[in-house]
């Protein structure tokens, strides 16, 4: 019986946590993601659309994107394609750009933007990142087609001059993220906005892979061709009479 009361109490606390921040009631957010292009090198196109019935008062936006283990970002390349007002920071570790999918792990990156949200009702931002798919393990049949799933980025917001935003109910839900994506920079408190109706939370990219059924014929043919080439070159080298320039 006591257990039930504890559970009920916990649910009430959680419900308070979720709906307690009044500031969120007026805000809708739509975060979408798309993978553009074909092959192993694609473009991730991310869009965030925010609207607020009461205006955003001097707010800053950041994004948290989790790059799945089947893909990696070329950090230098990604930084080059971002707009002047954006920067990118790896949360932890780094991308092993050479590892195949099964030897890598997902990596979270933060993207900060310096586009101001001053007294505006709506905010829309689109950004693209070059993403590279990793090699995947070969499969048994042709029908199997491995894929990599990319989830839309979390949209983080902080409005340091908005009193409602700064109420305790909102503060309790805040998470820490880099203030400006500078390495070793300070952390700020953000609200993680949940995606609203109509958002496309994830997208899938298919990866071409080899087939295990090819192993025997491919290996055998490779061995035969290599042996033939080596034997032929050795034979010709050994039995060709060397000419010498006499003049």
């Amino acid at each position: 019986m006591v257990r039930h009361y504890v559970a009920l109490l916990w649910l009430l606390v959680m419900a308070e946590e979720l709906v307690g921040c009044k500031w969120l009631n007026d805000v809708t957010v739509k975060s979408t993601i798309d993978v553009v292009g074909a092959g192993m090198h694609r473009q991730l196109k991310l869009t965030a659309h925010l609207s607020n019935q009461r205006r955003f008062l001097e707010c800053s936006i950041a994004y948290k994107l989790t790059v799945p283990r089947g893909a990696f970002l070329d950090i230098n390349g990604a930084r080059m394609v971002l707009d002047d007002g954006q920067s990118l920071l790896l949360r932890e570790g780094s991308f092993n750009v050479e590892a195949p999918m099964h030897r890598s792990k997902s990596v979270a990156v933060d993207v900060c933007t310096w586009r101001p949200l001053i007294n505006s009702f709506v905010f829309t931002e689109t950004w693209t990142l070059p993403v590279h798919l990793r090699y995947h393990r070969s499969v048994n049949t042709q029908n199997q087609s491995p894929s990599v799933r990319f989830d839309a980025a979390d949209v983080l917001i902080r409005c340091e001059r908005d009193n409602i935003f700064l109420e305790d109910d909102c503060r309790r839900q805040m998470i820490q993220a880099p203030c400006d994506c500078s390495t070793g920079g300070d952390l700020c408190s953000y609200l993680n906005l949940r995606s609203g109706v109509g958002s496309r939370p994830s997208v899938v990219a298919h990866v071409p892979v080899g087939q295990l059924s090819h192993l025997l014929p491919v290996t055998a043919t490779t061995v035969v061709v290599v042996l033939f080439c080596v034997a032929y070159a050795t034979f010709v080298t050994w039995f060709t009479v060397q000419k010498e320039k006499t003049e």
Binding site: M40, N96, P100, G210, L215, T222, A233, W238
Partner: protein, 426 residues
């Protein structure tokens, strides 16, 4: 009309030309090719600014980042995927002030390779100045492939320069210094020049190439110079390794040495083994068997060419390197420069017996096989089509073409004694 006769005709023109003071000289060639490279380096800036696919080699960014770490007091190995000697990073520290410094340095090294190759060619009996200029100009200095590679910021030309320096020192009779350069520089920069040790050993033994096996055995067993060369070279490499280990620790060993020895890159590349190695990636036992067995054909070709052509090191090293690269577990286009720098040196040996048509056909086959592979790889990498089998088949075609070229070279080969040897004999 053979390539050789074309060169002879050029020789006559040259003699006349030289008298009239109108002909090209090595200095003019170096200046002209230097200007071309300078233009390419400048073009790279514009290209990189405008186009999405950059002209600058991705490795150049790696070197530059590593140099920046070194400049700021850190280790070059703090940069992920930096797998080169730390010396390169320190050499490129000026990149922090002038981003093009490294490219200019590599282009200058390109010219050094051209100058060294020219000097080496002139040591061949029967190779005129004009013929030497023709070989160096067409196949190295004005070769778009080599010019672009260095202008993009690829450092492989540094190892080419060290290999040619070893060759120059050996052919000048300065084998002691040659051994030091071979171990401390060439093998330290890249491991692959170790494949030249058997041929150098036999070259210094001055053992007969054919026939008298008894004399051959005696000379090999009493080959003090060859054994000393090998010992000094290996010791030099060991000293450099120890020094770098002292300063950079395990990261140096892991990134610069062990990675290259144990590397099994299963992503598509020119190697005929890429697809089998990719398919067995999850099976460590099979992977080790295939990976380990791949060294056997390479070792065999190294020994065969050393036994047969050790009296003519440039030709021997060309064939050895072509086969080594073609049979390597990992093969990318930057490896081709390892033998392209030796091509001008071996050309006079084969030019007399090769028709111009055949030479053009050979070049077209080599480029054609690469083109086919690149097409298949493009479909896989950029279009997402499952062309693994096609890429692998094209790798096999490239392997066959490479070996066919080697066989044609062997059949067209004429031994050209070195001038110093000839003088000695006189």
């Amino acid at each position: 009309m053979t390539v050789g006769s074309a060169m002879k005709v050029e020789n006559v023109k040259n003699e006349r030309g030289l008298e009239e003071g109108q002909s090209w000289t090595i200095n003019k060639l170096l200046i002209a090719s230097g200007i071309i490279r300078l233009v390419l380096v400048l073009y790279a800036r514009i290209h990189d600014y405008i186009f999405k696919v950059r002209f600058t080699d991705i490795d150049y960014d790696v070197y530059s980042d590593a140099a920046a770490y070194a400049y700021s007091g850190g280790s070059p190995y703090d940069r992920a995927t930096y797998r080169y000697t730390p010396l390169l990073a320190y050499l490129l520290i000026p990149n922090a002030f002038c981003a093009e410094f490294g490219k200019l340095l590599f282009c200058a090294t390109d010219l050094l390779v051209g100058a060294l190759a020219y000097e080496l060619l002139l040591k061949r009996k029967g190779v005129s100045e004009r013929a030497a200029l023709w070989c160096i100009g067409v196949f190295w200095l004005f070769n778009p492939l080599t010019a672009v590679i260095s202008a993009r910021g690829n450092a492989d030309v540094t190892v080419c320069a060290s290999v040619l320096l070893v060759l120059y020192l050996l052919e000048s009779g300065n084998w002691l210094l040659g051994a030091v350069v071979h171990g401390c520089l060439a093998i330290h920069l890249k491991l692959y020049p170790v494949i030249y040790l058997p041929s150098i050993f036999l070259f210094l033994a001055e053992a007969p190439i054919v026939g008298d096996w008894k004399e051959f055995g005696r000379r090999v067993l009493l080959n003090f110079r060859g054994a000393s060369f090998a010992a000094i070279s290996i010791a030099g490499f060991a000293v450099m390794t120890a020094l770098c280990y002292y300063f950079f620790g395990d990261r140096f060993l892991e990134e610069s040495l062990l990675y290259h020895v144990s590397r099994t890159d299963t992503r598509h590349n020119f190697s005929p083994y890429f697809y089998p190695l990719y398919l067995v990636e999850s099976d460590r036992y099979l992977s080790k068997i295939i990976g380990g067995s791949a060294f056997i054909p390479q070792a065999l070709m190294i020994v065969v060419f050393a036994l047969r052509y050790s009296n003519d090191l440039p030709f021997c090293w060309l064939l050895t390197t072509v086969c080594f690269v073609a049979l390597n577990k990992v093969c990318t286009s930057q490896y081709f420069v390892w033998y392209l720098c030796l091509l001008p040196l071996a050309l006079p040996n084969v030019s007399a017996n090769l028709s111009s048509q055949k030479a053009v056909f050979m070049a077209a086959s080599w480029f054609g096989a690469q083109g086919l592979w690149l097409l298949a790889a493009y479909l896989l990498e950029f279009q997402g089509m499952n062309t693994f089998v096609l890429v692998w088949l094209c790798s096999l075609i490239l392997l066959v073409v490479n070996f066919w070229l080697v066989v044609v070279f062997v059949r067209s080969y004429t031994y050209l004694p070195r001038v110093t040897t000839a003088k000695k004999m006189e």
